[in-house]
Each structure stands twice: as structure tokens, then as C-alpha cells.
Amino acid sequence: MSEHAPGGGLVAHATAAAAASISVHGLTKRYGEVEAVRGIDFEVAPGEIFGFLGPNGAGKSTTIAMLCTLVKPTSGSATVAGFDVNHQRDSVRRNIGLVFQDTTLDTYLTAEQNMRLHAELYGVERELVEPRMRQVLEMVDLWERRRSAVATFSGGMKRRLEIARGLMHSPRVLFLDEPTVGLDPQTRSSIWTYIQELKAAEDITIFLTTHYMDEAEYCQRIAIMDKGVIVVLDTPDALKASVGHDRVTLETDDDAAAIAAIAERFQITAHLSEGAVIFGVASGEYFVPRLFAELDVPIRCVSVSRPSLDDVFMSYTGTTIRDAEASAGDQRRAATAAFRRSR
């Protein structure tokens, strides 16, 4: 089952199968011609914060939709909180909380009405509705605003309210699909604060997706997904260590000549990304002096950085996540992505 996981993270965790919070085997989903998810396997341990990282169109939302029983898998199986998503849909639903990528609030209602509606749908005991609502709304700092119509909320407030609502019925597994997409940096970081607090306060497993590299660092383990498959799965630190080299970024007068020269002198494949020449090399700071000595193309600027998850993504997929997004599809998809981001 580890054929999709060159990083080996899968194998290490396969032993936890019995107690796993989420366990996925050979899951696929096909929409007509499009194979959105192409056979993925992974396990998430109870209490873990597990992230799916990948560009738009990688199949992250489709995976969540299958795990929360909204979409039937084309093939493969999965259990969530110990229940089979194909055959025990109601049991799965009782035990999960969901925050979708696009908002699912009733904006005509107040925050409190949205919460109560959710509590009723999930059969939360009457006497617990009020205290639980207070607890989760206070956690996301919305208790004072509970009587305001959701239509008057900012994007960040709506997202916080959705997180609180997803927690209303004390789910064992919380799914967050791109919880921070389209939010300003400050709000993004506060959302992460809530997630950390939640993790400390409750016995809950968190499964989230993101296409922000920096956010994946908050996860205990991440699976990098691209074009429907998991390319690698491990802890962020292990992934970064596996890259094994630093990233050197150059600005030159003639990028094409520089790339050719680097290939010829050092047998290193460099490439152009966002107007800079980029390549990986072990011990970058010792390499830079040689670069100046041996490269005849004028260099305007140089920087060396420790591997980031961007480099991990690059080293496993051969492209940067931004380039993957840009080329991920036709203009329509690019347009929707931009639209999503702009909201």
C-alpha cells in the first residue's frame, strides 16, 4: 500500500490501523473523464492534526467529500472514527464536524440561530445546547456577536462561526477544507490559534487541507497531494530533511545563460521561477563563493535558504506549488481560484 509514498510515512503509521481515526485504502473518485482522486492510502491517528497540502485541483476537497459521505467513492474504502464511509454513513455523520471550503451558513439568520439549527439537526440534548454554544462561540470570540445576522459578518468571522458550528456537537473528527483561504494574514493566524487551542482542549482529530505552504507547518503530519495522488506523507520536519539541500535563488542579467552555465560547470539543474533562477545544493553558503568565481554571467543578487515545504513540493513534483496551480488547468479554473482567493 505504500507505493504512493516515497517518503515512507505511511508505513510507519500503518501499525496504528486498529485505533486509527481515519483510515483510507485505495480510494478513488472519477467524474466522467476526470479522475479527481486516483487511489490514495493513508491513516490518521486519534488526536492528530493532519494536513493535505496541494495546489487547486489536486483532489483535496473531493477526498473530504468522500470521507464525510457526501460523495460516493468510485472504488476503495475508508473508515472515519471507526465507521465505514460506504456502509455506515449515519454513524460517520454523527461523529464528524465539517467546515467546507465555501461557506454553508444561512446569512439571513443570526449566529445563534445558525448554531441552534445545527444543534437541532444533530440532536444535541436540549439542556446542553446553551452551554455548549457558549463554550464554542467564546472560543472563536463570537459570543458577543451571537445576535447579529451573519450577513453582517466579515469573511473571517464567518469562518470562525463555521468552525464553532462544526464543533457544536462535539465531533471526534473535524474536517476543515481550506479553513484560511481568502483571509487576511492576521485572521489566518488567529484561525490557527483557535485550532491549536481546540486541540489542547478537546479530544479531537483534525483533518485539514490547505494550499498555503507555511500553514502546513502547523500540522503534525502532512500528505502532499498533486493530481489526485499522495506524492509523499510525513512530518514537516522529516519532509524538509528529506530534501537534503538548501535552496539558492539568483537574479542575473541573463537567466538562460546562467542556467546553462550552472548545468555545465556544476551538473546542477536550475530553473526559472517567478523571475529568478532557483536550484538546490547541499551546504548552500559554501557553494555561493564558487558560484561567483566560476560563473561568467553577472549576478545581481543571491540568497540561500533552508529547505521549506515549497522545496519539498518541488523536489517531489518537479514544480513549485504556484506553478502547479497556474498550469493546473484551463483559465476557468484559474479564474475560480482567483475568485475564491479574492473573497
Binding site: 457526501l70 451558513l105 439537526l121 482542549a201
Partner: protein, 300 residues
């Protein structure tokens, strides 16, 4: 529980220690849970309607136009044929049905909006039967449409229909049945049609013929055969006809007027009784409801 995986997690001390809230436990599916779902979905429709004051007023415009503008304007033309009965009294039952028809259909359209704005997903992933969601939606739409019907019922006195308690009750029950059926029909359509523009186009295409063919603005006897057939196929016919009969039962008019204006619906010469007519409307509603439930339960 602390994660078993060995990773340094970004450190930030938990601000709030667990609050003293007993653990929430989501119970297994039960009739009680489903009833709670029906009730909350129904309540939501009412809350939304109560916040939409503009809609209450605008949906009264059309009945007003038909009753007072068309009714008054045409009354001189029609006076020869109405045997002394005010044309507005004659069209009143039809106008009442129209108010219910349009409001109910509009309520069903909210399901399409729910899909568009994502809220439908919140309901679809809940651990309750889809049938309770559909039922709640239909009851909600029916209640809202009935409320609109009551507003039109208040106008009865202005067009010579007496405020007799029995009559009001009978009309109320009948319009409740109609409201439920139309909402169920709209919900059934909304299960299939996902775009609001298409939904509006389809319902316009269905509602107008339904209204005009139903006998809301003409007596249903002595029509050309093609119109008779279409009229008998129109579900609205079976709501307008008994409603008119109920109204005319409480009027003091000549037998000739009664025969001309309220001939009653016939099937191959047989007079369809009032209760059966109401039964036809209810049965159509149940069929639409069943189809809607199947549609929503089957979806992913």
C-alpha cells in the same frame, strides 16, 4: 488526548482550560431526532419569511391587481353573463388560490437558493433522514403560503364574501392542502433544477398555464373540448372549484347564477364531489412529496 505522533507542535499554551460543559453526545437516528429536524427546518422557513417584510407586501400586489383592477374593469363587460353576481366575487376564489400558488412556489425556490449559497450542504450532511428535511421544507413553504392566503382572506368583505366562521375555516383547510401540494411540487422540481434562473423559468412556464386553465377566471362548463380536457388535467382546477363552491354556498344568489357561474367539475358527466376534489389535490401533493424524498435521499 495528546497526539501519539512524535512532532513538535507549534507552541501556544491553551488559553481556556476545558470548560465545565458535559460532553455532547449525538444520539443514534430516532423518530424523535427526525421530528426535531422537521421542526427546525420548518421554523427556519418562518424565521426567514418573517424577516422578509418586503416579500409579504409585494406578493399581495398580484392578487390586488386581479381582484380590483381586472375584476372591476371587466365587470361591465361581463355583467350580462354573471346574473347579477359581482365579477370580483366570482374571481375571488381563484385569486386566493393564485396568492397561495405564487407564494408556495417562491418558498420552494428557496431550496435552490440554499443550494446556491451552500446551506443545503449543512442540511445534507446532518445525521437525519433526508425525508425529514424535505418534509420540514414543505411544511414551512405551506405555512408561509397559507399566511399569504390569510391576508387575501381578510379582503373577502371588500368583494361581497361574508366573514362566516365556517366558510373561513373551510377555505383555510382547502388552501392549506393546496399550499402543501404546490410547495411539494416546487421542492420536487428544485431537486432537479439547480440554477435559480432555470427554476424561475420553469415555474413561470408551469404556473401561468396552471392558473389560466384552472377555471379561476371562467366557469368550467360549456368550454370547447380541448379546453375542457386541459382544464380537467390541471391540478389547480380541483382547488379553485371547491373553493368557489364553498363561497357560493354562503351567497344569496339565484339558481340560474349558480348554474352559470359554479357548474362544478365533471368527469364524463359525473359531478366530482368536493371532498374528492380536495383528495385529488392532496394526492398530487403526496406524489410530489414522495418523488422529492426519493430524489433527495438518492443523491450523494
Amino acid at each position: 488526548m495528546v497526539a501519539s505522533t512524535a512532532t513538535s507542535e507549534p507552541t501556544r499554551p491553551a488559553a481556556g482550560a476545558p470548560l465545565p460543559v458535559p460532553a455532547v453526545h449525538v444520539p443514534a437516528s430516532s423518530l424523535r431526532g427526525d421530528l426535531r429536524a422537521v421542526k427546525i427546518v420548518w421554523e427556519r422557513e418562518l424565521i426567514r419569511f418573517s424577516k422578509d417584510k418586503l416579500r409579504m407586501i409585494t406578493s399581495l400586489v398580484q392578487p390586488f391587481l386581479f381582484l380590483f383592477v381586472l375584476g372591476t374593469g371587466l365587470s361591465r363587460l361581463a355583467s350580462a353573463g354573471t346574473h347579477g353576481v359581482d365579477l370580483r366575487t366570482f374571481v375571488y376564489p381563484g385569486v386566493l388560490c393564485m396568492a397561495v400558488l405564487f407564494t408556495a412556489m417562491f418558498s420552494a425556490a428557496s431550496l435552490v437558493w440554499d443550494r446556491e449559497f451552500g446551506f443545503l450542504r449543512e442540511m445534507m450532511v446532518a445525521p437525519v433522514r433526508r425525508s425529514s428535511l424535505v418534509l420540514g421544507k414543505c411544511f414551512g413553504g405551506a405555512t408561509v403560503a397559507c399566511f399569504q392566503g390569510i391576508l387575501v382572506l381578510c379582503l373577502a368583505g371588500l368583494v361581497g364574501v361574508p366573514y362566516a366562521p365556517v366558510l373561513l375555516l373551510e377555505i383555510f383547510v382547502l388552501q392549506l392542502v393546496l399550499a402543501f401540494t404546490i410547495t411539494a411540487f416546487g421542492v420536487m422540481v428544485a431537486a432537479r433544477i439547480k440554477q435559480i434562473q432555470s427554476f424561475m423559468a420553469v415555474t413561470q412556464m408551469v404556473m401561468m398555464p396552471m392558473y389560466f386553465l384552472s377555471g379561476a377566471i371562467f366557469p368550467v362548463s360549456g368550454l370547447p373540448q380541448w379546453l375542457t380536457i386541459l382544464n380537467r388535467l390541471d391540478p389547480m382546477t380541483y382547488a379553485v372549484d371547491p373553493m368557489r363552491r364553498l363561497v357560493f354556498n354562503h351567497l344569496n344568489i339565484s339558481a340560474a347564477a349558480r348554474r352559470a357561474l359554479d357548474p362544478g367539475v365533471t368527469w364524463w358527466g359525473w359531478h366530482v364531489p368536493t371532498l374528492l376534489e380536495a383528495g385529488v389535490v392532496a394526492a398530487i401533493g403526496m406524489i410530489c412529496l414522495a418523488v422529492a424524498i426519493v430524489e433527495f435521499s438518492g443523491r450523494e
